[in-house]
Amino acid sequence: MSHSHEPTTFLSKYVFSFDHKVIGIQYLITALFMAVIGGLLALTIRYQLAWPSENVVSAESYLSLVTMHGTIMVFFVISMGLVSGFGNLLIPLHVGARDMAYPFLNMLSYWVMVPACLLMIGSFFVEGGAAAAGWTAYPPLSALKDAVPGSGMGQTLWLLAMALFIVSFTMGSLNYLTTILNERTRGMSMMKLPLLTWTFLISAIIGILAFPALTAAAVMLLFDRHAGTSFFLPAGMYFEGTGVLPNMGGTPLLFQHLFWFLGHPEVYVLVLPALGITFEIIAAFGRRSPFGYRTTVYSLLCVAFLSMIVWGHHMFTSGMDPRIGEYFSIVTVMITVPFSVIGLNLIGSLWQARIRAETPMLFALGVISAMGMGGLGGLYLGTATSDMYFHDSYFVVGHFHLTIGTVTFLALFGGIYHWFPKFIGRKTNELLGKTHFWLTIIPMFAMFLLMHLQGMGGIHRRYYDVTQYSYPNASAMALMPWISYLAFALFAGQLVFAFNVIWSIFRGEKSSENPWGATTLEWTAPSPAPHGNWPDKVPVVHRDPYDYGSDGVWAQNVENAEGQA
């Protein structure tokens, strides 16, 4: 394979590299760059919300900001950083392979993602501004130029960028699936896979099966926009100046179904790897095998299956048949079953552990708490009856920011601190790391919990100026600027992270090959791992992924003294 001839030129080593570690780092850097953009958008949104009379942006730009913040954060930061970034970095190391199954495809997937990012950013500068129909891009708003200014060129670029994203993500998913199923080293049975790799496998399966729905929807939406077809556009729409549109017989609900058939599983594509990272860190810093490895794996599979059949809970109030709504409500709250198992296993993994509360561990413990809060909040929205009140309110905003925002970002940071020594060869600064943790978790938890309270007060989301209404509780309204202050603090706190990472790349304390005393295979490779991952032979697996005994700790490749597998 490619490890036999190492790349020599700058281009082949760092730009068009086949090496999964280089590609992983490329993804991570791109994702962090996009995160800065997404964060700045969020700050502008928060400024407008807190001080609406100052009108920092216009109403139409505000909708563009909301749309692009959602799209960038979900697809171009979390999907890209957590799944594409860490997946590429860790999967071959975890399964004991020299590289991904298809290194060329892997390189290609990154270089398809780059133009997708550029198109997304570029769409801000076209006439009418960026797409403004929300990250869900519901037609007719997203299909008709007359409906909202951003539905012109901006929406077209949005769709093209998403198409490229899907192509890239599918290539990545194929690679993950094949590598995990087929490129495992000797002795690495499925039940010896680290939990993080299990979550990547499940993410890849969900990605392969669910993303085509969005592809199909995007193709049909493009035809509706540019060829005058009526896949999603009903008869009799009237716009001032244009008159009655010629469209016939389509239904916007169809798009919503197709979108959420992807959209809901996408949540688990993001959250499951975050939980996987958490399990890895807790095992390494709790020095204990995670509680219920097998029940966790089965629960993850169960979540993956359920995620494909519950999409309708995003549409309780959409006007679909109420009996279908009741079905979706029943199966949606069934997701509590696998998730409470995972939650119990996360907390249970601390029982009888030997915790070292270092930076990665702090983030991992934060994930447990955020997942608990986010998951419990989901019950209010999964229950159709209470969703009638909470739908499209700040409760929803708070909920999904806790689950796919806080959980994933904490895991992303935790993962970066945890594997930094492996890929850079130096440790990050502990004091700065802990400072960063506190500057992250306090504002994050506070702002998203306050959003739940605002949602309880009935404040609707995606409003340019919420003060237009007087029904919400005055205290709920008064929280607006406080959430914004917290958001600014959160953003400022990330400067510590940026400084820590950059400083540590050059000045960090040199790290050994296994600084945390962890057991999975990546810690048996040198730090930083060379091209081909292991300088000599690929390790052979003899043990469970987390063999922390009472009298010692054994990596997966250590031969069992008693000779048992």
Binding site: A235, F291, V333, R354, G372, T385, S475
Partner: protein, 277 residues
């Protein structure tokens, strides 16, 4: 490493305890919901209170255990990492999962179902029927008049100035239809069936005090049904992103005594009067 690590663990445990206090205080000791004003809304509130109580309990217990474990097991000694057998671990997992699913399904089925059925259940002939038509960015309210029938509306007849809904003059049922903007008036304690239409994009008819929220799909006729049980003026909001004036799509709902509504209706001029040929 050890002392600093203990300190961090202690801080985190303290943080979780403070979080529990803050959340219980924030959600438990203040009513954030706007006062309910409809019959099924009381049930919606019951579901919310039930969920608050149960999830609150799970949250508190979970976080206290988390905090306790962090402090208790945060020691660097080579203790005995006791491990349960996979069977015992699975039994733990299953019992927790079973408990949680009971909690969740009770909320959905036992408490929630009646309200859901009331909103979406079969219409009754006694319902007060009013049509609400959404357009970027406002609401048109149409009453069927004495004949109880809505006249036909055809989008090609829409004219902003005099015929905003495209009411067909030729339809005899149109003759007594009354159209007003942005102000919906309903009688108190009578089931109201709202027929929902949209002229352009998706909108959502949301009245927080009534605990009503229903998306409106252009090209289709939707409905929602509720019984307002408190007189007063409430705000109608659009809850589905509909364009740059989304946040400005404010309407009013006035719940009044039936005789007051009758009087008001009798004072209104039929919409057909204003239509220019």
């Amino acid at each position: 490493m050890t002392a600093r690590s203990h300190l961090s663990a202690g801080f985190l445990a303290l943080f979780f305890v403070l979080l529990v206090i803050a959340v219980v205080g924030g959600f438990g000791f203040k009513t954030w919901l706007p006062p309910v004003a409809s019959e099924h809304g009381a049930v919606v509130d019951k579901v919310i209170r039930y969920t608050l109580l149960t999830t609150g309990l799970v949250f508190v217990v979970g976080h206290l255990i988390l905090a306790f474990f962090i402090v208790k097991y945060s020691r660097d000694e080579r203790g005995t990492a006791k491990r349960l057998s996979p069977g015992v671990e699975a039994r733990w997992a299953l019992s927790v999962a079973f408990g949680m699913s009971i909690i969740a399904e009770v909320g959905v089925l036992v408490i929630g179902m009646p309200a859901w059925a009331a909103v979406y259940g079969e219409p009754s002939p006694d319902d007060v029927v009013v049509e609400v038509v959404a357009q970027q960015f406002g609401w048109f309210i149409r009453y069927p008049g004495k004949d109880g029938k809505f006249g036909a509306c055809r989008p090609e007849l829409i004219r902003r100035g005099d015929n905003p809904l495209g009411l067909d003059k030729k339809d005899p049922a149109s003759a007594d239809d009354i159209i007003v903007e942005d102000e919906l008036r309903l009688p108190v304690n009578k089931p109201a069936r709202i027929v929902l239409r949209s002229l352009d994009v998706l909108h959502s008819f949301s009245v927080p005090e009534m605990r009503v929220k229903q998306d409106i799909i252009p090209g289709y006729t939707g409905r929602t049904r509720f019984v307002p049980n408190r007189e007063g003026t409430y705000e109608i909001a659009c809850a589905e992103l509909c364009g740059l004036g989304h946040y400005k799509m404010r309407g009013l709902l006035q719940v009044m005594a039936p005789q007051d509504l009758q009087r008001w209706l009798s004072e209104q001029v039929p919409a057909i009067t204003y239509i220019v040929d």
